[in-house]
């Protein structure tokens, strides 16, 4: 049964007893519906673009990070229910990351502010009308006399242009603030190339990728674009693949995908980059020619010196330099939060030189697109100084949460409090809006008109895909209305003459596109998309000044002081922490959900005698926090890493009081124009208190079971199968069955093949659905997991249930470690695991009520209304992909208004049923309906599962295995193909292609 509950006074077990003994339950059973009177409420007037039961799609633009990916928003009956990438967009080409997918839970978040509110004399907020609110804002602005400061997190576009003009007309000042900005990259580019632009990185073209600590797959510039390009070059294609080397003290998501992880002392990356540049220049003529001018300046930076600074062997540095320059083109990346120590500018500058001498600038490092960034931390600090000095009368915070995302040691709250009148346009009651006097909640990005110019060549439009959920107002309209109240110069702005922000936006666009038709075409497409321009850059005179000095760290040095690494995780800069999908999504590296942790190397843990789950107290000169230990080999022994983005004190029920805020330990002093995230050392004290770590990781090692298989590049080139590759590596044959058992299995197989020609499975013309997952492309980013949650109405279960192993991730990413012991390099393996839809499924014969059964089109079906919850199937599943619904999640996991985002095509499961991946059967049936209405057969590509659709790496292929021309049937032919736990003879419909390792030679 799906969503019905049992009558009061009769529990499920009692119900079954009655049913079994007397059959009296039959009457109650029939129909499975209540007698409650349902109403059918018609529209007054039919909407032009909504047909009940048929989704309507709108093009829009993602605002979850600065990359500005294009969106297709699926709406049903005027509610947004799913976000997918816009295939026409040059940045994401139809793909979308987990953060972008979760925007839906930002839209329908129960923590949203329901309407405008003003602070009362007693300190509480009282709802006011929009007219009152805007009148109050106008009055305060009039009295401000130009002493206006605005902090805005909005991306570059018509809105931010309007905000600037609006603020300047009143004599005020706007700071465009992004918590994760790229100030060191910009400063270094200014120094080396004379431009402060952030370049676009072309991972797809690179044959050799070297990351200096940058987690470019998760949190740097444009993650989906990087992911796509990385899979293109680093995936195994026709015997070719790029090599990826990661130089970092901690193994991030990007590091997990490296062929070689070189661990080093934090802060020393620049020394290696300089030494590599020196080696290249010493051994060959620089290309372009002006690179040769650097020879003298760099001659002092020898690999031996770099070895001393970093702990990385000089020979390794030489080898990397030679590999880097001989692969053409290559790409070195630096920047981002993970290396934002006090030497970050030096690092980015050194890597600029490295790219330049290897001839990569213009080929894989492309200037000219002018990627959008914030104004930088220096601008924020200077605005805060004016607040502190009492020079502001009115402060407005838009789309930013500085009270959370700036370290407490900077004293934001105290400085902000000196502003007499503070206004927030935040959608949520977060740390900053709590401090404000007037709340003017804006529309969510899916509810408003807007545009974004994240880079030259890609201008994205946003359009409201539905009526606002709450009594909010687009901030653009607030600005226009307030301007009329204020009068004077701001009321004279041409924009203010527009009747609404929408009209202003359209007028702006008409000056570019010309006609109404072109405007509508742009709206339909999602914006104006094209190629970004590429400008060539040359070395600036200051390029030769690039140098390396060991960066300073705050806090205790010596054996008691650990380098403190706050790392970006699923929560980003904290803006995703109020979304249950994100809280429940396992961190790609540690697999921990719902709370904070500190990563520690096993050696360190042994030395100070702590075990996993012990709560330790970390102390820096700036603060203290207590957090449970997670022991992982993927970190330098002298480093402790804590994820950023948790430990909110406001921001809705989901975020508040969950985990710790790693920023509490940081110094807020700027010095070089950026926030030094990685410049702190901490001491550690044990508390002898424990907290069970809520992780979805089981065993961290594969124990020879061949779950996430891999082979070397040479083996893959030779066309070896994973089994042959294992044999070649000297491993024993992977056969767990005895000779007799093997014989029995063979016989059974034959009889099965015979059986297939008869009975229900022999239906002619039925497809046979199957999937191929290419592990050479999969990075473990987990976009598929969130896509699956969104598509299939999967309930989040919360920390308590995860501790009991009761998560319901139909699609999960398993992560295993390889090596890392006895001098072997540590390698990570990731494998997406979902229902394998076995032909010979062990779950099916054990179901006493035939709820688990095989469909004629090759699916492992699960009929919820039949399921009585014996859980036999789950116990018999070797893949652990069947999830039991232990609680009435249909009632608790979708609190108003999150329920509005549910997919109406998928049953919301109630308590007591088994559920699992269906291969998105609603999409299969939907495509079959469409094909039938159009009098045609299904075509390859008609059915795309939610995971395959979202996957930024294009690692997942889905289709009809019976059709030899289908992409899935072709992909299955790859010699790299294998089935997980093949020995069990369950004949899965999911084929994995073994990962290919581009290991160091020799």
């Amino acid at each position: 049964m799906s969503d019905e509950t049992f009558p009061e006074g009769i529990d499920r077990r009692r119900f079954l007893t009655v049913l079994g003994v007397t059959g009296a339950g039959a009457a109650a059973m029939s129909g499975c519906s209540t007698d409650k009177v349902e109403k059918l409420v018609p529209y007054l007037v039919q909407s032009d673009d909504q047909i009940p039961g048929i989704p309507t799609w709108y093009a829009s633009t993602c605002t979850e990070c600065g990359a500005g990916c294009g969106l297709h928003v699926k709406t049903r009956e005027a509610r947004a229910i799913k976000l997918e990438g816009n295939p026409a967009h040059p940045v994401n080409a139809g793909k979308l990351c987990a953060h972008g997918q979760s925007a839906l839970q930002g839209l329908y978040n129960p923590g949203r502010i329901k309407g405008p509110m003003a602070r009362q004399a007693d300190g509480s907020f009282k709802p006011v009308t929009w007219d009152e609110a805007i009148a109050l804002l106008g009055q305060k602005l009039q009295g401000a006399g130009g002493k206006l400061g605005v902090i805005s997190g909005a991306g570059r576009g018509t809105f931010s242009d309007l905000l600037s003009a609006w603020t300047q007309a009143q004599g005020g000042r706007v700071v465009r603030y992004q918590a994760f900005d790229f100030e060191p990259v910009r400063a270094a580019n200014q120094q080396v190339f004379g431009t402060s632009e952030v370049p676009a990185y072309d991972f797809a073209a690179a044959r050799y990728i070297l990351s200096f600590g940058t987690d470019f797959l998760q949190d740097f510039v444009s993650p989906v674009e990087h992911q796509r390009g990385f899979a293109e070059s680093h995936g195994f294609n026709d015997g070719q693949m790029a090599k990826h080397v990661m130089l970092a003290p901690r193994l991030s998501l990007t590091g997990m995908n490296a062929d070689e992880w070189v661990t080093l002392r934090p802060g020393s990356e620049a020394a290696i980059a300089l030494a590599m540049t020196n080696v290249i220049l010493a051994e060959r003529t620089g290309n372009p020619a002006d690179a040769n001018g650097l020879r003298g300046a760099l001659a002092a930076w020898t690999p031996e010196q770099a070895q001393e600074a970093s702990g990385v062997g000089a020979e390794v540095i030489r080898r990397l330099a030679r590999e880097f320059v001989s692969a053409q083109p290559s790409l070195a990346v630096a920047g981002g939060i993970s290396t934002q120590h006090r030497g970050a500018i030096q690092l980015c500058a050194a890597v600029n030189l490295l790219n330049y001498v290897a001839g990569n600038v213009g080929r894989t490092v492309k200037f000219g697109a002018d990627l959008d960034t914030g104004d930088g931390y220096g601008a924020v600090e200077s605005l805060l100084r004016t607040m502190e000095q009492g020079q502001l009368a009115v402060a407005i915070v838009h789309d930013a949460n500085p009270a959370y995302s700036l370290p407490k040691s900077g004293g934001f709250a105290a400085k902000f409090a000196k502003v007499p009148f503070k206004v927030s346009t935040s959608l949520y009651l977060d740390e900053t809006s709590q401090l404000c006097d007037l709340l003017l909640p804006g529309h969510h990005a899916l509810e408003r008109w807007d545009d974004l110019r994240p880079r030259k060549g890609a201008t994205g439009l946003l359009q409201p895909v539905m009526e606002p959920v709450f009594q909010t107002m687009a901030t653009g309209d607030v600005l226009l209305k307030a301007a009329q109240k204020v009068g004077g110069a701001v009321a004279a702005l041409p924009a203010v003459a527009a009747p609404s922000y929408e009209a202003h936006l359209k007028a702006q666009w008409l000056t570019v596109v010309g006609t109404d038709e072109a405007w509508r075409a742009a709206l339909q497409r999602g914006g104006i998309y094209g190629d970004s321009p590429v400008t060539s850059v040359r070395l600036a005179a200051t390029a030769a000044n690039v140098t390396y000095t060991a960066p300073a760290f705050d806090g205790e040095a010596g054996p008691e002081g650990f380098y403190f690494a706050p790392v970006p995780s699923v929560m980003g800069d904290g803006r995703f922490a109020n979304r249950p999908w994100m809280l429940e999504l396992s961190d790609p590296v540690t697999k921990i959900t719902w709370h904070s942790w500190v990563e520690m190397h096993p050696e360190t843990a042994r030395r100070i005698d702590v075990r996993e789950g012990e709560i330790v107290q970390l102390t820096s000169p700036h603060g203290t926090l207590s957090v449970p230990v997670y022991i992982t080999p993927g970190i330098h022994p002298e480093v402790l890493a804590v994820p950023l983005g948790m430990g909110h004190t406001a921001f809705g029920d989901f975020a508040t009081g969950r985990g710790v805020n790693a920023l509490d330990l940081l110094d807020a002093k700027d010095g070089q124009g950026f926030l030094p995230y990685q410049a702190t050392r901490v001491t550690l004290a044990r508390t002898r208190e424990f907290k069970q770590v809520a992780k979805t990781e089981g065993t961290t090692r594969q124990l020879g079971r061949g779950i996430a298989d891999a082979m070397t590049l040479a083996q893959a080139k030779a066309g070896m199968t994973p089994a042959l590759a294992r044999k070649a590596e000297g491993h024993e044959e992977h056969e767990i069955n005895t000779e007799l058992e093997v014989e029995a299995i063979e016989g059974f197989r034959e009889s099965q093949l015979e059986q297939r020609k008869r009975g229900a499975y022999a239906v002619e013309g039925q497809p046979m659905w199957g999937m191929v997952i290419d592990l050479a492309r999969c990075t473990g980013c987990s976009a598929c997991v969130t896509a699956c949650y969104a598509e299939n109405n999967i309930a989040w279960v919360g920390e308590e249930a995860i501790l009991k192993g009761r998560e319901m991730t139909w699609m999960r990413i398993e992560r295993y470690w390889e090596g890392g012991e006895d001098g072997d390099p540590l390698e990570a393996r990731v494998v997406p695991v979902l229902c394998q839809h076995c032909d010979n499924a062990p779950c099916e014969p054990v179901c006493p009520v035939y709820a688990a059964y095989h469909t004629p089109d090759g699916l492992n079906g699960q009929v919820y209304n039949r399921c009585v919850g014996t859980r036999y199937c789950g116990n018999n599943c070797p893949y652990k992909v069947r999830y039991f619904n232990w609680s009435a999640y249909n009632k608790t996991a979708f609190p108003e208004p999150l329920n509005l985002g549910l997919n109406p095509d998928v049953t919301v499961r109630g308590r007591g049923v088994m559920e699992k991946c269906t291969f998105c059967i609603q999409r299969i049936r939907g495509a079959q309906h469409t094909a039938r209405l159009e009098d045609r057969e299904l075509r390859d590509g008609d059915v795309v599962t939610a995971c395959a659709q979202a996957c930024p790496s294009n690692a997942i292929t889905f289709g009809n295995m019976k059709d030899p021309a289908s992409r899935v049937a072709q992909a299955q032919q790859s010699p790299r193909g294998y089935h997980v736990l093949e020995d069990l003879n369950v004949r899965p419909a999911v084929t994995y292609l073994a990962k290919v390792l581009h290991r160091a030679e020799g």
């Binding site: 519906s33 349902e38 109403k39 529209y43 039919q46 009940p52 049903r76 209405l933």
Partner: protein, 196 residues
């Protein structure tokens, strides 16, 4: 819960009426006696208590619209051939005719005035739902229309054209009702054809 997404939809259309079309060999149950003996338009609009089926806020006469005036079902249930949902007519659809047609006698006039008042007040009429498939079953109306033709509605819904007040003729919530037809017509009996 398939319909949950609609529950908070406020004034939006809850277009989930089950207007289905599977023809059956079993003879369709006769419509109720009142309309058998009286010409449809003679039936007083207030006399709904004796009729089968739930009383609706407006005594909407399917027998007059569909039976006497021979309007096709799809004039109002507009999406039945393309969507899983048949579509409930918008108030604008009602007013398209009733802006002009005010009713031939006083009992009709009373009911039509209710529709006009609702239109003027911009308040949709909240109909009582009669046909509703359990939420764990998916019934694609368009597939059934495609297979059986545009006039096959009565297969499941009975002879609505002769019903002054619509009532449930067949227990469409009983899976046996669906399966009988699927067996007879050799259509898929796979569980996941409907349950997912």
């Amino acid at each position: 819960m398939r319909n949950l997404a609609f529950l908070g939809a406020g004034s939006l259309l809850l277009a989930l009426g089950a207007l289905a079309v599977v023809p059956r060999t079993r003879p369709v149950q006769a419509a109720q006696s009142a309309s058998d003996t009286l010409p449809a338009w003679k039936l007083a609009a207030g006399d709904t208590a004796n009729l089968k089926g739930p009383k609706q806020p407006v005594f909407f006469r399917h027998d007059i619209h569909s039976g006497v005036n021979k309007m096709t079902c799809q004039y109002c249930h507009y999406s039945v051939a393309e969507s899983s949902e048949p579509g409930i007519p918008t108030m604008a659809t009602c007013m398209g005719c009733h802006l002009i047609i005010g009713g031939s006698d006083s009992s009709h006039k009373v009911e039509i005035k209710k529709v006009r008042d609702a239109w003027n007040a911009k308040q949709p009429i909240e109909w009582v739902r009669i046909h509703s498939v359990a939420r764990h079953a998916h019934f694609p109306h368009m597939r059934h229309i495609k297979a059986l033709g545009p006039n096959a509605c009565q297969t499941c819904h009975g002879d609505v054209a002769r019903m002054p007040q619509v009532f449930k003729v067949n227990n469409i919530n009983n899976m046996g009702f669906c399966i009988t037809c699927h067996v007879e017509r050799k259509i898929s009996r796979d569980c996941t054809a409907c349950h997912y």
